[in-house]
Symmetry: C2
Subunit: 463 residues, 2 copies
């Protein structure tokens, strides 16, 4: 069962912002602004020691001098005051009966032993009152289904099925921007910072049950309780896929990580083995992580091993075939059944897999080939590749894929790669906005599909 | 010495387009349009059997019924007529004294043995008259310094220092679009198609001497004369770096390549060893190839092994450090000298390499740190990393980098990675337009810098 205090982190009925500010440029203002502009529908109570008025667009908030003055129940208190005031504020929140405390403020464990002690005292205070702490040293939390954006990051996060957890603050905010630019839809963003109390395992337990989350992506530098994390990750992986970027792989990188978040990075080989055992999909770069997350959060599992590659360019067909073989994907090769594609190509095309519709392939060729592949019971997954030519606008191809995939009921995994210029980029964005994973390179599409296969095979073995 | 006929492929004084058309949508029209719109300043002579008038914008071209009627010397004849008419056209071009023939038309060696024979006859005719053939089965040729765009691909290719050679037609055109979207500046684009006569080695010899080309990128499925190619590549690599994407690595991919261009892909291990010996930088994907090409075509060689990483985010600093260690790059670690960076960061920053200016780093921090790194004689290469925060607009960072790098005389390699949203993307584009390699991920910047180091080390060993 999910801890109701963790539930309150994502779905609070009311929020206090302690250290709210009336000054644009201040974090205590940015949090208020994001809460309002992203459309949070619960009650918002700014707390400011001077009791200032805070204007956000048309709304004017009167602020309270202390959380204890708020005339209502408060589920979540976002704490933005300087470090030295935090212990008293946590005590006050306890008395008020707050459930969960995202502590944005920095100046604790990340500074050394002294800070760690104070952090530990905060956790003890929180325990005494039955509260949970997120952070400190974080940028906040987002939960898109409830229009909650309690961060000082970008406002316009795209709703979708992926939960994002970041141990790094600066990187986490930058990744929020990245997801907007790259059309990655998110259910949640959580900055875990120093992980004094709530850690990745707690969050995984929530996301496992959360109906709005289909996959989880974690940027991690280290974990404190490795055994607990791996056990939880394994249980969660049986239900939803987890992608992890674990920085600090190299010796020098591990040292840099230790000085950055104070976490012991640990031997990379140990992590690697543990991830494999727990069914976690490891990514080595940010790009790779989101590439994988697109397929894992959007596509159904394949019902078999047979991949069909449909292309208009021999070159990208070859590249995709290389990538498929290297990633352990099986190209369907029942030549009798593949003949169905001969209907959609000129005589010099090739219906051998990769299916080459040729550079002359237009809308009808692609439409027919995609429809046949989606309908064929032995074709279990599909990669649609397209080199931009003058024959077919990539945006029209995107519309064809969206229409056919929706009409088929989205029952098998389908990925798209479109190589080209600005129209190709627009087509890719359009597909991703519709939850159909699309990439600017064939290898990226294939590797992302392979990540889905890896997770699915691991899952099957657990039974 | 460069073959004057190959020289004429890039710098023709006059061009005939045989099979020119007045109908938009036809390839014979697209070639005319690109020639005119990209600003070619030599003479253009359309040849059309019906003698139609061809309008491109404000210009009206009268066409000739045969190349033999053109009342002027013709350096280059672009051939767009159907395959069956090509032999006669080549014969006529010979009589006319044309130097080089890009044959766009398809329907030759790529169709099988019969086509190969006809192709061979075309080459024999060309030899008889002292002409060279590019293709057949190509999309044309671009040479930006002379504003030549004799292709049916995109018009608005960005001028720059990279020459691009593609064996795949569809992919080549798509890559032209890609370079425009991704702000990759090109000196030339050549579609080699069936390589009946002019091959990669001929082109490499031209680019070796070409003052407008600093690096060469080849998309290759196979070569006919492997020994000749590798010998030429080795000689060229001593002067200018070559990046190759060689598709058809896997068994099944090689088979697909064979059926696509009719070229024998050969054992991948043989290619791999030969590339290494020839100093060729191999890329495994399109993205990787252009990532490498950016550093190799724009940056000076490093004068030593000491890399300095400057960052505002511990997370990306760690990722870059991992990537540097994995790629065999050496992080400068003279702690006394690194102390210079302490002037540009708050007390909780870290001047240990990676130099962490912290999330509070603004314009002055970056400006000072970059200037000091550029000026320091023991810091041989620089990676500037930035996680988008509210403190510093990434576009302002781009301007700082451009200003400081130019002021320093661009004497050492400098790469940039900016992680973030739309403003980060704009900053990256701005840097790339200025010839400063910039990437959306730290690992990509580091791997691209490592490619420059690999080439530079190989080159040093050849002396």
């Amino acid at each position: 069962m999910v801890d109701p205090n963790i539930e309150a982190l994502f779905r609070p009925k009311s929020i206090a912002v302690i250290g709210a500010s009336e000054k644009p440029g201040k974090i205590g203002y940015a949090i208020m602004k994001n809460l309002v502009e992203y459309g949070y529908e619960g009650k918002i109570y700014p707390v400011n020691i001077k009791g200032v008025e805070i204007k956000i667009g048309n709304r004017v908030f009167k602020s309270y001098k202390s959380i204890l003055e708020v005339p209502d129940e408060v589920d979540m208190a976002v704490i933005v005051v300087p470090a030295k005031f935090v212990p008293q504020v946590v005590e006050d929140c306890g008395k008020k009966g707050v459930k969960v405390l995202p502590i944005i403020s920095s100046g604790f464990g990340e500074l050394g032993e002294e800070g760690k002690k104070i952090e530990q005292q905060l956790v003890e205070t929180a325990r005494k009152y039955g509260m949970r702490i997120l952070g400190p040293n974080i940028f906040g939390v987002v939960y898109t289904p409830d229009k909650l954006n309690a961060t000082f990051g970008p406002t316009d996060v795209l709703p979708g099925p992926l939960a994002l957890i970041s141990q790094s603050g600066a990187l986490g905010i930058a990744l929020m921007g990245w997801t907007i630019l790259e059309k990655v839809g998110l259910s949640a963003v959580v900055s875990v910072g120093n992980k004094s109390d709530i850690d990745d395992a707690d969050l995984l337990e929530f996301f496992k049950e959360d109906e709005n989350t289909k996959a989880i992506l974690i940027y991690m530098e280290g974990v404190k309780d490795g055994r607990k994390f791996m056990e939880t990750a394994k249980e969660v992986s049986k239900v939803k896929p987890i992608v992890i970027i674990k920085a600090g792989r190299s010796e020098r990188g591990a040292k840099a990580a230790a000085s950055h978040t104070g976490s012991l990075a640990g031997s990379d080989k140990v992590y690697d083995a543990a991830f494999k055992q727990a069914g976690v999909i490891r990514a080595y770069t940010i790009g790779e992580a989101f590439d994988y997350a697109r397929t894992l959060s959007n596509l159904p599992e394949p019902e078999g091993e047979n991949l069909v590659i449909i292309t208009n360019g021999g070159g990208i067909g070859v590249m995709a075939t290389d990538a498929a073989e290297e990633a352990g994907l099986h190209l369907y090769d029942n030549i009798e059944e593949l003949k169905v594609f001969a209907n959609h190509m000129p005589p010099f095309g090739s219906y051998k897999n990769p299916v080459d519709l040729t550079g002359m392939a237009g809308a009808e060729s692609y439409e027919g080939a995609i429809r046949d592949a989606l309908a064929h019971p032995e074709m279990h997954s599909i990669a649609v590749l397209y080199c931009q030519t003058a024959v077919l606008d990539p945006r029209d191809l995107a519309d064809i894929v969206i229409r056919e995939y929706n009409a088929s009921g989205r029952k098998k995994p389908l990925v798209v790669a479109i190589v080209g210029g600005i129209e190709a980029k627009e087509a890719i964005d359009r597909l991703n906005e519709e939850g159909i994973p699309a990439y600017p390179e064939p290898e990226r599409a294939i590797k992302a599909l392979a990540a889905l296969y890896r997770w699915s095979r691991w899952k099957a073995k657990q039974k």
